[in-house]
């Protein structure tokens, strides 16, 4: 009996290919985890309570959380329809629209900030209009939201587009023959099936907005967002003052990523969790 058990638990040499893949995956993980693990040892833990009592830090955190949330809501309103249009409609210059969507991903965030400043700044065509009425767009909370929205929107659009493309067109076709309008089909057929991918995309968008630094620093240095305040503390006081703030970011990221995971596993994306309804092919 015992011999049999030992026999069955005998180590089986994995295939070379699987070994290589596992090794590469482990290397990637180590590379990503190393700075975080190191942080736990370097972190000046005794400074944390003092930082938590710093009103500027709390203010920056509030600004970041509020602006990132508002940006994400704005993005959701525009990006979901845009993603749907890109996924479903065929129209001339569709490639150009796709290109425009990707540009904020390619630009250095600072450049995104500069080109926005040219538009929304006190001498820009839009910014000067508002400035004349005493509502400057730059260096205000509005400016923070503008910068974050521009930089973070592509994340929502790309994710939602992929999610809409994965919705079987046959379900939309059937809904049409059942008398449903495009509006009704979008809300009752397309969006619910794409919801997992859309929500995951919006959570990533929120994270991106929360962590946004470059464009915000150029367009709206004040009021401080968390990343800008970390930068301010780093240049003014050095690492020990900046690092405890990073814990805020880390905590927010962990929560949001967990939610994103939850959204994608409990979605209706075909092939993700809901088996196909095409019958039982052998």
């Amino acid at each position: 009996m015992k011999a049999d058990a030992r026999e069955s638990r005998r180590f089986i040499m994995p295939e070379m290919g699987a070994l290589t893949l596992g090794l590469l995956a482990a290397l990637a993980l180590a590379y990503l985890a190393a700075p975080l693990v190191n942080l736990l040892f370097v972190e000046p833990w005794r400074d944390v309570p003092a930082t938590l009592g710093d009103p500027l830090a709390i203010g920056a955190l509030e600004t970041s959380l509020e602006s990132a949330t508002i940006s994400t809501v704005i993005i959701a309103l525009g990006a979901i329809p845009l993603a749907y249009v890109l996924a479903r409609w065929r129209f001339p210059l569709r490639w150009l629209v796709t290109l425009l969507v990707y540009i904020p991903l390619v630009f250095p965030a600072v450049v995104s900030g500069i080109i926005q400043l040219l538009l929304y700044g006190p001498y820009g065509p839009i910014g000067s209009f508002f400035a004349a009425q005493g509502n400057e767009l730059d260096t205000t909370f509005t400016g923070v939201v503008l910068a974050q929205t521009f930089v973070a929107a592509p994340f929502a659009i790309v994710a939602a587009r992929a999610a809409f493309e994965a919705v079987p067109t046959a379900t939309e076709a059937v809904a049409t023959t059942l008398g449903a309008s495009r509006w009704r089909i979008f809300w009752t057929i397309s969006l619910p099936q794409a919801s997992g991918g859309v929500i995951a995309g919006l959570i990533l968008t929120w994270l991106r907005a929360l962590g946004e630094f470059g464009a915000t620093a150029v367009l709206a240095y004040h009021p401080y967002t968390l990343p800008v305040y970390i930068y301010v503390q780093l240049t003014g006081e050095g690492t020990p003052a900046a690092l405890p703030l990073a814990l805020f970011s880390l905590a927010a990221s962990v929560v949001a990523i967990g939610l994103a995971q939850l959204a994608t596993t409990h979605s209706h994306i075909p092939g993700a969790s809901v088996p196909d309804t095409t019958g039982r092919r052998p």
Binding site: A173, V174, T177, L178, G179, V274, G279, R280, R281
Partner: protein
């Protein structure tokens, strides 16, 4: 030469469609679906002109023939280039008049090949999606709040429909929990909920495994027949068309090659494409034909054997002709007694030697190399015209002959036809 490749032929076919459209298009007494339209998709040209009146019509064709595209055009999901689609005498599309009823107002039920159940809704919600507003369809929650009777009506209607498709009590299930056959019937119930004037089904059985397919075929036919809704179903499978349909429309390379009542259509394929589609299996090249009286044609095969067909010679002089034989109707006889029959009957009979016989379970597929003079050795060579006959195992074993043996092939009058060569 393919007919549909020359511009002249294309023009001609467009005229054909116009004629067909004006003939059958919007007659008020025209029951069911009448279509006559052309449609272009890249280099593919689809020209469909046929009728699907009451009962079940099968649109039979090989893959790539344009069957699904035809369904989509009828449902309003694909735009036609020219022609007419009418339902119960009312034009859904008429390009000559610029009329176009949008897909959502056509009242045509559509069951795609994948069934396309809404995965995020329950079976009851799937079915309710198409219910008319008065029965608890769209805006049900608002209406249900205003009108308390609505909820009962909705629940009752869903239960009726599930009963109708023989799935009582399935309301609360999710599409993911259904078998293929159940999913299909839910999709059917969902289409019927909208009270369609016609029903379209794309390959209704092909997504099911073979035993389920057998079991569900009769059910499906009974349900559709009981609904009384004219139904057009697409299939690439002849046996499926035979089991389900009353009428047949054969589509090949974007053209209708034959149509009519199922039995009569299968018995009279006009062209070689139709012969292949209808499972006749045998197309023999011929050397010449000559009129053999008012209603008969004498056909001489390439090996010199002659047959007299009870069919007037096809009039078109420029068409190449071939002889088609229906494999399942052919009867084999050992050559010795064939000699006697030959002297009496003198007609539909061919001679050859058995090349090989394959046991296909329900029948034997026997290949016979044609030729009166051949030897046992020449019969096994892979050249010369060959005839396939399907024999019941009893019939074949009773013959007691082996490869190379001389046989005569007895051909019933309705199992041989001169057909136009329209491929290769």
């Amino acid at each position: 030469m393919k007919l549909n490749e020359t511009p002249a032929a294309k023009r001609m076919s467009e005229n054909e469609i116009q004629n067909a459209a004006s003939m059958q298009g919007t007659r008020p007494d025209a029951e069911g679906l009448r279509v006559a339209f052309g449609l272009h998709r890249g280099s593919f040209h689809l020209r469909a002109a046929f009728a699907a009146p009451s009962g079940i019509t099968a649109l039979l064709g090989p893959s790539g023939a344009g069957k699904s595209l035809t369904l989509q055009a009828i449902a309003g999901l694909a735009r036609i280039s020219h022609g007419v689609i009418s339902l119960n005498g009312v034009a859904l599309v008429d390009t000559t008049q610029g009329a176009m009823v949008p897909a959502r107002e056509r009242r045509i039920g559509y069951v795609p090949q994948s069934y396309a159940l809404f995965p995020h809704l329950t079976v009851a919600q799937n079915i309710a999606y198409g219910l008319p507003p008065g029965q608890g369809g769209y805006h049900y929650h608002l209406q249900g709040w205003l009108n308390p009777g609505m909820r009962e009506r909705r629940v009752q209607r869903i239960a009726e429909l599930l009963e109708f498709v023989r799935l009582p009590g399935f309301e609360g299930r999710r599409p993911a929990q259904l078998s293929g056959g159940e999913a299909q019937r839910v999709a059917l119930a969902r289409a019927l909920a909208a009270q369609p004037a016609a029903l379209l089904m794309d390959e209704p059985l092909s997504a099911l495994d073979a035993p389920t397919r057998e079991a569900i075929r009769d059910d499906l036919r009974a349900i559709i027949t009981a609904s009384g809704i004219p139904t057009l179903l697409v299939t690439h499978d002849l046996s499926e068309a035979r089991a389900l349909a009353d009428r047949l429309v054969a589509l090949c390379a974007g053209r209708v090659v034959a149509q009519g009542p199922l039995g009569a259509t299968l018995a009279s394929p006009p062209t070689t494409t139709a012969v292949r589609l209808f499972g006749w299996e045998n197309i023999l090249p011929i050397r010449s034909t000559e009129p053999g009286g008012a209603y008969t044609t004498r056909v001489i095969l390439e090996d010199g054997q002659a047959l007299i067909l009870p069919q007037a010679q096809a009039s078109a002089a420029n068409e190449r002709l071939a002889l088609a034989l229906r494999a399942e109707r052919l009867e084999l006889r050992a050559s010795a007694d064939a000699e006697k029959v030959f002297s009496v009957q003198k007609g539909l009979e061919l001679y050859g030697r058995v090349r090989r016989a394959t046991d296909a379970g329900a029948y034997y597929r026997v290949r016979v190399a044609l030729g009166t003079r051949g030897t046992q050795e020449s019969a096994t060579e892979e050249k010369g015209a060959c005839v396939t006959a399907l024999c019941s195992p009893r019939e074949w074993l009773a013959l007691g002959i082996a490869s190379g043996a001389p046989v005569s092939i007895m051909i019933p009058h309705d199992a041989a036809r001169l057909v136009i060569v329209d491929d290769r």
